[in-house]
Amino acid sequence: MHQQKGIWSTGGFRRIMRGPRFIKSRETKTPQLKYGVSSMIQSQEKPDRVLIRIKDLTVEKADEVVWVRGRIHTSRAKGKQCFLVLRQQQFNIQALVAVGQHASKQMVKFAANINKESIVDVEGVVRKAHQKIGGCTQQDVELHVQRIYVISLAEPRLPLQLDDAVRPEVEGEEDGRATVNQDTRLDNRVIDLRTSTSQAIFCLQSGICQLFRETLIHKGFVEIQTPKIISAASEGGANVFTVSYFKSSAYLAQSPQLYKQMCICADFEKVFCIGPVFRAEDSNTHRHLTEFVGLDIEMAFNYHYHEVVDEIADTLVQIFKGLQERFQTEIQTVNKQFPCEPFKFLEPTLRLEYREAVAMLREAGVEMGDEEDLRYLGSTKMCQSLVKVVYDTDFYILDKYPLAVRPFYTMPDPVNPKNSNSYDMFMRGEEILSGAQRIHDPQLLTERAQHHGIDLEKIKAYIDSFRFGAPPHAGGGIGLERVTMLYLGLHNVRQTSMFPRDPKRLTP
């Protein structure tokens, strides 16, 4: 028989995967077949066909014939009919293959047996649904299938079921319905990321980056790129990854700190950068990763570092407002699986002094010294609940930390030498940003480094950058994954990192 070339040829037969669920049809040899496995798309041709997005299949398209590409989310045969749910990212629609004018019995059987997650091209008529289809995002319409072809077949046994992966974890399951544990998800990340919750989380994360950039560019900042292979550990020797560098070794940058500051000394005035940060911290907690994305800001100021604090706080507020306005669908999708209170904040941002937090905690019965670090006492959550009761905000700043608990390059307070010009910002009681006015005087910097017992040889290049006129400056950085996690009220930073890295995980 004349071999048909083109997308519907029988040539694809030979590469079909084995598996009990796939049924070959005798009718695939005839021309104009209405169903089957298509040959692998190797860019053989450019058909004149428009594929409509499932998200756009609404009552407005009723009675139109459309082509759609999606995944088989579920399939269920019932006598002469087969019900499919076709999924495309966060959206899905019910599709019906019924014996009749367009479909034969064999076609219905074929459709019912396509492995889940396979990608299919479907031609069908959009019909108004008699009743709302509760299980789908497109509730008012369904697709009556005229043609269905498998574009990419999935293996029959999936490592995890998507419906299990979006099920909320409930205490004391009544009928023991399964959920999927974190390690299984992370081991099969590609499939886990297909769930509507994951799609929503990472769309929102993309939005955070976009809003960060938009806001800062609008404020006149310049985006910079800083090196990640560096010669000296910036934050202290302990938590740094070493890499072999030709005949010697180098380190992976723990933060863009040094280079942000050098850009200020090089007269860029207001800079930001978005890039990976590497911390070799052997912490297996809900909020630590060994590699994460840092969103960093540095700014020269005129007379007072509060000029910078106000800008950073405003940037974050603009991000929160932008998410509230433009990403409600994503927030609601995540809330379905992980319910939480919406994120609240004040504009302008609430800024309390460190001593006020200490006073609030003492009044609530916590015993602490004036120079103790809140974080080490595990008191940040308590502080948040006190602040929340009075001001009803999930985001606030604590200003003027004790000098003793800050890095060596932090500028001391001009009036009280025990304090510093430093600040932390908190979301839902967890610290998301640690920043300060930096010491821009090489002599003072040297003194403070010596006080901290740091080897001056190791930081010579750093100190040198301030020798030829350095503007007063301040800044801070946030972690993208942590901010996403806290904004959505999630509890583990691995949920908001696409391919997370921690002391126990290096793949995928």
Binding site: F343, E353, V358, E363, V390, Y391
Partner: protein
């Protein structure tokens, strides 16, 4: 003779012979009134709905600023889409040049989606206080004036009358209040005795927020002018323009 529907006794003579004690001027009183000093700024936090600004609290804020070194702040809560410019600037231009702990008191106003104004306090754990009248009484008490039992009860009574009958009452109730006010103001320059009290502040603000201001009787009109001549009322006058 004061005509009040529920009066049990005639206090006319008692009021006229009353004198309030002189204002004391040092900040140590604040500790007495607000509780132990934990070494940080005591912040009074008021949540109010921008669609119903609590004007009397703004007048009281100005009064407090005359007496104490106050750090004032206005915030918008994320539950509210937008707040008109004049409400954001209701405290005027604030010079925040000093560190927080060098102020005696904080006054933080948050425009938020709340049904009634509510007040919370940063250092002491206490239930929030709700209602413009109650908050107004608290703020006025920070000025440290002392009254005898009868006078303070009368003041309280006028505050309630102003909020529940003048501001929120039917037109019949409003009419009745205006007549009582007119009668009282025929005998004394202020609603209670010879000095401005929180009763005058709350009543004047309530009048501004009803339509009856222009139709008020003669003594009331005169008294309104006296209020307007006082400095603490100017910020609210600006808001109302």
């Amino acid at each position: 003779m004061i005509q009040t529907p529920d009066a049990d006794f005639d206090v006319t003579n008692i009021i006229q012979t009353d004198e309030c004690s002189p204002l004391t001027t040092n900040g140590a009183d604040l500790d007495l009134m607000l509780g132990k000093d934990y070494g940080a700024l005591k912040d009074i936090v008021i949540n109010a709905n921008p669609s119903l600004p609590p004007l009397s609290l703004l007048v009281l804020h100005s009064l407090l600023c005359e007496r104490y070194k106050i750090l004032s702040a206005v915030h918008t809560h994320s539950s509210v889409k937008s707040v008109p410019e004049n409400l954001l600037k209701c405290f005027g231009e604030q010079t925040k040049k000093q560190p927080r702990h060098e102020y005696q008191l904080g006054f933080t106003l948050i425009w938020k989606d709340v049904p009634k104004p509510q007040m919370k306090f940063s250092i002491q754990t206490m239930c929030p206080i709700e209602g413009e009248g109650n908050i107004a009484r608290f703020l006025f008490s920070l000025l440290g004036q002392k009254y005898n039992a009868v006078t303070s009860t009368l003041i309280d009574s006028w505050v309630d009358t102003a909020i529940f009958q003048l501001k929120e009452g039917s037109s019949k109730e409003k009419g009745a209040v205006l007549r009582s006010m007119n009668a009282a103001l025929g005998k004394t320059p202020w609603l209670v005795g010879n000095e401005l009290t929180v009763a005058d502040i709350v009543a004047w603000c309530a009048l501004q927020q009803t339509d009856s201001a222009n139709a008020a009787p003669a003594n009331v009109q005169k008294w309104m002018k006296s209020c307007e001549n006082l400095a603490p009322f100017t910020s609210v006058m600006k808001l109302l323009k």
